[in-house]
């Protein structure tokens, strides 16, 4: 490829990127539980670090308990470590799966919108909708937040485009601001 061709190619890439950014910014979203609804209905909202997971049989089903260290609390009163229970997991040769249930790995950090009733283990509100993973850029150290339910792009056949919904790659400071704002609208508990 000659220099001119390469330059033209890079320009095309640049223009395509701009176009696609515009498309993404105007994308239609499907609202299942709005962020404000999640904040309102959650028993607790916290930034957590996964310590360990364990799957086991309980009442005829396979469940997974994930132990988290509480890094930062935005709502509710949590102890220093909490256990969040999700349906599904692996015990022996049996693999129990439920779509949209979040799976956690040791050392990863997430903001979770938790929900629980007295005497019951905590669960993740709305499953993938209440799970916001924190990613750290290796080079810059910048942290971003992505909602599990927003990670997959959706294809709208009518407009023949991939569109996005939910929170994706949001700088953590903006996410925290958004969270504070959503919680301020929450009636006192």
């Amino acid at each position: 490829m000659s220099y001119v061709e390469r330059r033209r190619f890079l320009w095309i890439l640049f223009l395509m990127a701009l176009t696609l950014l515009a498309i993404a910014a105007n994308a239609t979203t499907l609202a299942r539980m709005r962020f404000e609804e999640l904040a309102q209905q959650a028993t607790a909202v916290a930034r957590l670090r996964c310590l360990d997971t364990k799957s086991f049989w309980h009442n005829g089903e396979i469940w997974t308990d994930t132990q988290f260290e509480v890094i930062e609390q935005a709502k509710g009163a949590l102890q220093a470590t909490v256990i969040v229970r999700t349906l599904g997991g692996t015990v022996g040769h049996l693999h129990s799966r439920v779509e949209e249930t979040p799976v956690f790995h040791p050392a990863e950090e997430t903001y979770l919108f938790l929900w629980g009733r007295e005497g019951q283990p905590l669960r993740v509100l709305g499953w993938s909708q209440g799970t916001f993973r924190i990613a750290r850029d290796i080079k810059t150290g910048a942290q971003t937040v992505t909602q599990d339910s927003a990670t997959a792009s959706l294809f709208d056949p009518q407009v023949r485009r991939f569109v996005h919904e939910g929170i994706r790659n949001l700088p953590i400071s903006i996410f925290q601001m958004k969270l504070r704002k959503a919680l301020q609208g929450d009636p006192p508990r």
Partner: protein, 410 residues
């Protein structure tokens, strides 16, 4: 056949990926439709594990009478969560049963698959309060309180498979195939007065209710081995249609699979292919690779293509999404999965022209953490003690630093 399709489709690259589309594929293709996958336990003898760490699809057996489903006639009365037109006790049950039968018939009504009406035994009822559970019986429960429910969760299907053959749960048959579903139960949210489901008969007069048939048909897709689809029109799209609306159109005698989108049909043909079907033999396959190899993740090693890409084939004549897949990997026995950017959309009608759209999972999140279709493509010594290193792999993260370029195929 594959070549004839590939020659005619038009290519279009979307977002931050470079799609290198190939008309000729050089190895076994990725089995990366949105299916529930499981990696066999190769630590066990090959006689029961198959000896390969390549992921296999969860599926039901398709011999006559191999799928049995029961439903619980125990319904919540306070609040009433299942709305029917007929208010007599027996009439209510008949109406609900008719909806279940209809929803099952939607899936068995797809042409070109081995999933046929005779694959199912007649639907049975149970008056047991809590029949859902890992007991080897496939059950549908409308009033079984399950700890997993939270606001925002309308219904779910829990599917149990085994990573070796010869396994049995409760009353299930002993598994003879890898990926065979041993137990699949469908739970409907039982106790939320704001969440009601209406049968098709009651639906017109229940604008605030979810369509029972749409939700049930979706859950039965999981029951059959599907994961979620990223196509809006698909019944396997993760979110239920809003209250007062339905997915697609109602099934009819002429079109029993009407609520399904082509994407669902194509997926079913891939999951339960009928060898005698000559119409849906088309395949589009290729690789999604970054123009800049440095954009590939440094860890784990050996990643040569974009992982977690979403690839969609649109039928040019109808504008419908004919098939969509989550691609990015391939596998050749004895495994493990290779993250080479490979994708394959199979089960396509031959003789048509298609446009392919592709996009990477443009997120910093690790796809292995959120989607069953991608979650368990790998096992290794960290996940399973004593896992053989030569059949071990690590699911890579997604790198978003992609440039874009189109390149014609052969």
């Amino acid at each position: 056949m594959k070549n004839s399709i590939a020659k005619h489709w038009r290519r279009q690259v979307s977002a931050w990926v470079h799609a290198l589309l190939c008309g000729i594929w050089w190895g076994p293709a990725a089995q990366a439709y949105s299916f529930n996958m499981i990696v066999p336990d190769v630590r066990q003898p090959a006689a029961i594990s198959g000896g390969s760490a390549c992921p296999v699809r969860a599926h039901q057996l398709t011999t006559a009478g191999s799928i049995a489903v029961q439903w619980s006639t125990v319904l919540n009365t306070n609040p009433v969560t299942i709305l029917t037109q007929n208010q007599t006790p027996s009439g209510r049950l008949s109406e609900i049963e008719q909806t279940i039968t209809q929803s099952l018939a939607v899936w068995t009504g797809v042409s070109g698959t081995l999933l046929l009406p005779r694959t199912l035994t007649p639907l049975t009822r149970t008056a047991t309060q809590n029949p859902c559970g890992a007991d080897g019986l496939n059950s549908i429960c409308f009033d079984q309180m399950d700890m997993a429910f939270t606001p925002g969760v309308l219904a779910f299907t829990r599917v149990i498979t085994a990573d070796v053959t010869g396994i049995q749960i409760g009353g299930s048959a002993i598994s003879t195939e890898l990926g065979q579903v041993l137990d699949a139960d469908i739970y409907f949210s039982p106790g939320d007065p704001n969440t009601t489901f209406a049968t098709p008969q009651a639906f017109p007069a229940s604008p605030k209710a979810y369509d029972l048939e749409s939700v049930l048909t979706h859950e039965l897709g999981h029951f059959l081995g599907f994961s979620h689809s990223a196509v809006w029109s698909a019944i396997m799209f993760p979110y239920a249609p809003a209250p007062g609306t339905i997915s697609g159109t109602r099934p009819t005698t002429h079109q029993p699979d009407a609520p399904l989108a082509d994407d669902d049909r194509t997926g079913l043909r891939v999951l339960y292919p009928d060898p005698a079907d000559t119409l849906h033999q088309g395949t589009i396959s290729g690789r999604i690779i970054p123009a800049n190899p440095l954009a590939l993740p440094a860890f784990p090693s050996g990643v040569t293509g974009v992982f977690g890409s979403q690839v969609v084939a649109v039928d040019n004549s109808t504008g419908a999404v004919i098939g969509a897949t989550l691609g990015g990997w391939s596998c050749v026995a004895p495994g493990p999965a290779q993250f080479d950017g490979a994708y394959q959309i199979a089960g396509l009608p031959v003789g048509n022209n298609y446009t392919v759209y592709a996009e990477a999972l443009n997120g910093a999140a690790n796809p292995s953490q959120f989607n069953n279709a991608l979650t368990l493509l790998c096992r290794n010594a960290m996940t399973d003690a004593g896992w053989p290193p030569l059949q071990a792999c690590i699911v890579p993260s997604v790198d978003i630093n992609f440039t874009t370029r189109t390149r014609p195929g052969p």
